[in-house]
Each structure stands twice: as structure tokens, then as C-alpha cells.
């Protein structure tokens, strides 16, 4: 009965070995990531904004009065003049409509994160599947998907979104889906396909095929997991472009959203405070800097992950 117990023991130890390997590679990658420094900076900024986003509902329910601090319909009754400069009760002042800037900033941070995350997940799901299928099947499927990608890459994203917003109501959800489709079938798909090409020629794919693995099984279990590090990297870049597009569109007043950083600047612009940067700095800087900081920190994170994933960029 030695023969019977052997696979069980093997399976158990296999698990342990796999876990050990994963832990070791994680540790190694983490130390590589720490070595890049710029990635740490990005991570710190992202954590800061996450804390802001998480703190907003807590503050609204405890310290802040809803009538004064609501980011959309609040009004600062305690100020005589709107927009009011920063004070103790309104650390970043109020906007021309008497709403608290800090509250708007924190409220918007949450929707920016959700938008970025959703767009990134949609992009990566589509991109990974496109890349894996195109590389695995080759031939006609590959050609069709890559020609489609060519078209998507050539599409000027912001311009499309501008035209689409004229044709229909675009909110956060629609925007995230549109960005995900544009980038997943476009650039991200192409990059993941070139990575998948080097995966599908590996011996274990051949082995899986000869041992009778189905197409879907091979793609999902053997090809896609090997694309995940790169997919994760491209998620970061998608988050950057999603937050950026949202900010630009809502700045132009084309998005159907309740509150966002871009909309805050749009409010400033339509109230005519746009060029009074020196006197009314709190109307412009908090929102603009937040957009820039969050975009660049996701980008920095992506770049340092790039150095972790791509050994050729590493320092020797």
C-alpha cells in the first residue's frame, strides 16, 4: 500500500513547496521593489489618498455636520463670504457655492479609486484574454484581434470620450467600461500578446496538450497565470489613464457625475476664479495637485514594478 499513499504525501509536500516558492519569490520581488525607491514614493502617496477616502464616511458620521460638510449639497453657514479662505473649521476653505473643499476632495478620492480599479480590472481581463487567445491560436484569430488592436491604438481616447459624452450620458461606470474596452483590446492586449507568444511555445504547454488538456483549460490554467505579473503592471498604467481621462472630461463639464476632482476645477472655472491663482489658491491647487499626484504615483508604481518584472532594466 506504499503505492497508494505516495501521491497523497506528494501532493501535500507539493503544496508546501509551491507555497515556499511563492513566498520566496514574493520576498525577492519585494526587496527588488524596495530598491527602486520611486515605487515606495508612489505607494506612500496612494496610501495617503486611500486613507483620505476611507476617513470621509467616518468624519461625515461623527464630527462633520451633514448640512455643512456634504460634498455636493452642503453649505458653509458659518462663513460670511463664499469662497471662504482656509480656516479651522474648513481646513481647505470653501468653493464658490459654499461647499467644503476638503470634504469634496476626500469624497472624490473614493470614486477615483473605484473608477481606476474598475477600469484596470476590465482592461486586464480583456487584455489578458485577447493576448492569450491571439497567441495560442495564431492565424486568423490572431490577425483579426491584432487588426482590431491597431484600430483601437489609433483611436484618440479623450477625443472619442468627448464625442461619446455628446451622444450619451457618461458617468463613472460607463467611463470605466469604455476605457477598459479601448485599452484592453488596444495597447494592453498587444503587449500581453507578445508576452503570451513566449509562453505558448514552452514545453509545458505542449505537455498539457498531449495529456489531453482542453483549449480553455490550457489558456486559463497554463497561459494566463504566466501573464499575470505583466497584467498587474499594466493595471497601474490603466489606473493612471482612467483617473486622468475622468479629470479632463469632468473639467470640460462633459461627465455625468456628482462630484470629482475635475468637476471641482470646472466649478472654479465657471465661477470665474480660474486665473486668480494667487488670491484663491485653495480653489485650484488641492484638486489639481491631487489629480497629478495620484496619476503620477500609480505611474511610478507601474514603472518600479516594470523594473521588478523586466530583468533587463535591473541594476547589475
Amino acid at each position: 500500500m506504499v503505492v497508494d499513499s505516495a501521491p497523497v504525501a506528494d501532493a501535500r509536500s507539493l503544496w508546501r513547496v509551491r507555497l515556499g516558492l511563492a513566498a520566496r519569490s514574493l520576498k525577492q520581488n519585494w526587496s527588488l521593489f524596495l530598491g527602486t525607491r520611486i515605487g515606495i514614493l508612489g505607494l506612500v502617496i496612494i496610501c495617503f489618498y486611500m486613507l483620505l477616502a476611507l476617513a470621509h464616511p467616518i468624519l461625515m458620521n461623527t464630527v462633520w455636520d451633514e448640512r455643512i460638510y456634504d460634498p455636493v449639497i452642503g453649505f458653509a453657514f458659518d462663513e460670511t463670504e463664499q469662497p471662504a479662505p482656509p480656516s479651522l473649521s474648513h481646513p481647505l476653505g470653501t468653493d464658490p457655492l459654499g461647499r467644503d473643499i476638503l470634504s469634496q476632495l476626500m469624497f472624490s478620492a473614493r470614486s477615483e479609486f473605484l473608477l481606476g480599479l474598475l477600469a484596470a480590472v476590465v482592461t486586464v481581463c480583456i487584455g489578458t484574454m485577447v493576448g492569450a487567445t491571439a497567441a495560442y491560436f495564431g492565424g486568423l484569430v490572431d490577425m483579426l484581434l491584432m487588426r482590431l488592436a491597431d484600430i483601437m491604438i489609433m483611436m484618440p481616447g479623450i477625443s472619442i470620450l468627448i464625442v461619446l459624452s455628446a451622444l450619451m450620458e457618461v458617468g463613472h461606470l460607463e467611463l470605466a467600461l469604455l476605457i477598459g474596452i479601448l485599452s484592453g483590446f488596444g495597447g494592453t492586449g498587444v503587449v500581453l500578446k507578445s508576452q503570451a507568444l513566449s509562453v505558448v511555445v514552452k514545453p509545458y504547454i505542449e505537455a498539457a496538450r498531449t495529456s489531453g488538456g482542453g483549449t480553455l483549460h490550457i489558456i486559463l490554467v497554463h497561459v494566463v497565470p504566466n501573464l499575470l505579473p505583466l497584467s498587474f503592471l499594466y493595471m497601474m498604467f490603466t489606473v493612471t489613464s482612467a483617473i486622468f481621462s475622468e479629470a479632463v472630461l469632468s473639467f470640460l463639464g462633459l461627465l455625468d457625475v456628482r462630484m470629482s476632482w475635475g468637476l471641482m476645477i470646472h466649478t472654479t472655472e465657471s465661477a470665474g476664479y480660474l486665473l486668480q491663482v494667487g488670491e484663491y489658491w485653495w480653489l485650484i491647487f488641492p484638486a489639481s495637485l491631487s489629480i497629478t499626484l495620484l496619476c503620477s504615483s500609480f505611474y511610478l508604481l507601474g514603472r518600479s514594478l516594470d523594473e521588478v518584472v523586466n530583468p533587463r532594466l535591473r541594476r547589475t
Partner: protein, 382 residues
């Protein structure tokens, strides 16, 4: 090479066809038609409504409308603008396309050279503060919230310092009794710019095989001479002050667009250089005792150029988007500003027409960049 270009042109034509199809169905997927615009008008009798539908062809079957749409777009009939009535969309585009071309081409060329040159230098100095500041600065510029950045440029250089005008295309006071209109002056300027860039390109082409120091002297010398000649011709033409007014309005948007788009090229050049530096032939070049500059510019940079150009092709759409934003911030009356203004005022024919042209523009820019790539990479000869 010729076969490659023909193949690419065919591909572009096919892509254009798909693009026009997508645009048509996007617009057509919307509920209602042109007669619905007057749905709230009680004075509109049903017969007029039917007549209007017939006039615009919206009662025809969809495939027929689609064919008409294709034919109209290809023959340049893009309809009539609602907000600029009675001007046709084609007329508006004809006026504004050159302005965007100048803005976009200048900024793209300058930012490519700037990005490539700086990327070369920072790749050569790996580590230390140069690398961190340039990476951080580059990423910040690349991901900066463009409207805010444009605004800061306006505020600093136009509002506070007063060196440049605040946005717009020209100063009406200067043009009050000008001998000719702005568009013809601008087209002349465009022609000058094209001639000048052809000269610059030719000079680089001729001198690229010379030794480094010699090449530098020849390049700078001949470019300086041609710039002097151009300036002289404009000064003596009598409309030089008008051109100068437009140039003054152009500086700030071009500078902003350049600043936000050079960082991508710079960061990519650095990465690409770092990969090439490890090649054996670089070691061989150093072992031969070539000066560092020659190794960097002739052996590493030349081969690092290829991936940069590839991704530059990909980033063209990004640059055009940047142009759209910059134009609307600076009120520069080009395609981007028209697109945004038409969208905000729900002028659908103008928005769609502008969008079609922006798409066409991206397609042609891609074609140009592909041909450039085929020229640069001797392996692409199929």
C-alpha cells in the same frame, strides 16, 4: 520598401473605412433624428417634418443612409454646423486644420528631439540624483493634469509676467487694418515652416555620416543660415508684424504641449539605452578607444532609437489628445478646441466631422511614422 508602404496604405484605407463605419453607427444608435430637434416647436406642421426627414434622408433604410454617409464623408460633404450656421463643417475644418497641424507638428518634433537627447544623457549617468530627479520630473510632467499645467503656464508667463498674450489666436487690435487676412498669412507661415523643416531634415541626412564634431558644425551652421534667410524674407515682406503676432500667440501652447509630451520619449529612451548598453558591440566600441560621446551617440543611441520610434507611433494618439486639451485651455481655435466647443454646444455635425478629421489625422501620422520606422530599421524591408 515600396511594397511595404503600399501594404501600409491599403491597411490605413481599410482602417479608415472601419473607423467611418463605427462613427456612423455610433451616431445612428442615438434615438431620434434631425426632425426631433424641433420636436418642441408647435409651429412645425407634420408635412414640414416629413419634408425635413426626406431632405436629410433619415427616412431611408439604414444601409442606404450608411452608403450616403460614406460617399458624403469621402467627398468632403460633412453637413452644416448648427452653432456656426450657415457655415459648412468642411469650411470650418478647412480653416482650423492648419492651426492644429502647426501646433501638433512643432510640439511633436521638438519634444521628440528634446526627449531623445535628454534620455541619452540620463541613461549615461545611471544612479545618483540626476536619475531620480529626471525620472520624478519626467513622470510628473507625463502624468500632470494637463488643464492645470496649461493654466499655470498662462498664469505665470502671460498673466503675471505678461510676456505672452493670454490664449487666443491673434490680437484684433494689431489686425485692425491689416493688408491681408489671418488665414492666408498663417498658410504662408505654414509653408515657411515646411520648407525650413525639409532643409533641416536634409542637412541631418547629409551630415549623419560625417565625424561628430564636423557634423555638429555643419548642422548648426546651415540651420542658422536658413533661419536667418527666412527671418529676413518675412521682415522685408511688410506683413512680418502680423506673423509675429501669431507667433507670439503660438509660443505658450507649443511650449506646454512640448513639455507634457517630451517626458514619455525621455523615459523610454533611457530604458531602451540601458538595454542596448549591455550589448557586446558597445564594449567593443569602448575597447577600440572611441570617445564616450561617439559610443553614446553612434553605437548606443542609434540602436536604442528603434523601440523609441515604435512607442512614439503608439503615443501619437496621446499627443493628439494632449493637443485637444491644450487647445481648449489656450482658446487656440484649432480642431481640438472646435471638437470640445461643438460637443459642449451639442453641435453634432461639427463634432462628428471634427472627430472624423482627428481620426484621419492620427491615421496619417501613423503612416508617416511607419515609413520613418521602415527607413530607420534595415530589417523592415518586406
Amino acid at each position: 520598401m515600396a511594397a511595404y508602404i503600399v501594404k501600409r496604405v491599403l491597411q490605413i484605407v481599410l482602417t479608415l473605412f472601419v473607423f467611418l463605419t463605427i462613427v456612423f453607427f455610433l451616431v445612428n444608435a442615438q434615438p431620434g433624428d434631425i426632425s426631433r430637434l424641433y420636436a418642441l416647436d408647435p409651429n412645425l406642421p407634420p408635412e414640414t417634418r416629413a419634408q425635413m426627414q426626406e431632405l436629410f434622408g433619415v427616412n431611408e433604410p439604414l444601409w442606404k443612409q450608411y452608403l450616403v454617409h460614406l460617399k458624403n464623408t469621402l467627398t468632403g460633404d460633412l453637413g452644416v454646423s448648427f452653432s456656426l450656421y450657415p457655415r459648412t463643417v468642411a469650411d470650418v475644418i478647412k480653416e482650423r486644420l492648419p492651426r492644429t497641424l502647426v501646433l501638433f507638428l512643432t510640439a511633436t518634433v521638438v519634444s521628440f528631439y528634446l526627449g531623445f537627447g535628454l534620455g541619452k544623457i540620463i541613461a549615461w549617468r545611471r544612479g545618483g540624483w540626476v536619475e531620480y530627479t529626471s525620472t520624478l520630473g519626467g513622470v510628473t510632467l507625463y502624468t500632470v493634469f494637463t488643464p492645470w499645467f496649461g493654466l499655470m503656464m498662462i498664469w505665470l508667463f502671460a498673466f503675471k509676467a505678461g510676456w505672452f498674450p493670454i490664449g487666443k489666436f491673434l490680437d484684433p487690435v494689431v489686425w485692425q487694418d491689416a493688408p491681408s487676412d489671418a488665414n492666408s498669412i498663417f498658410n504662408l507661415m505654414l509653408a515657411t515652416a515646411v520648407i525650413l523643416s525639409v532643409i533641416v531634415f536634409g542637412v541631418f541626412l547629409v551630415t549623419s555620416k560625417r565625424r561628430l564634431g564636423m557634423a555638429r558644425v555643419l548642422q548648426v551652421g546651415s540651420i542658422a543660415v536658413s533661419v536667418l534667410i527666412v527671418v529676413g524674407v518675412w521682415l522685408s515682406s511688410g506683413v512680418g508684424y502680423l506673423a509675429w503676432d501669431i507667433v507670439k500667440h503660438m509660443v505658450l501652447p507649443i511650449a506646454t504641449l512640448t513639455l507634457i509630451s517630451f517626458a514619455g520619449t525621455m523615459l523610454l529612451t533611457r530604458n531602451s539605452m540601458l538595454e542596448v548598453i549591455r550589448e557586446d558591440y558597445v564594449l567593443a566600441a569602448r575597447a577600440k578607444g572611441l570617445p564616450e560621446k561617439a559610443v553614446r551617440d553612434r553605437h548606443v543611441a542609434r540602436n536604442a532609437l528603434l523601440p523609441v520610434v515604435t512607442s512614439f507611433v503608439f503615443s501619437l494618439a496621446f499627443a493628439i489628445d494632449g493637443g485637444v486639451i491644450i487647445e481648449s485651455i489656450f482658446s487656440w481655435p484649432g480642431m481640438g478646441q472646435t471638437l470640445v466647443a461643438a460637443t459642449v454646444s451639442e453641435d453634432l455635425p461639427l463634432a462628428v466631422g471634427t472627430f472624423v478629421f482627428v481620426g484621419l489625422f492620427v491615421l496619417l501620422a501613423h503612416l508617416a511614422a511607419d515609413i520613418l520606422y521602415a527607413y530607420l530599421d534595415p530589417r523592415v524591408r518586406y
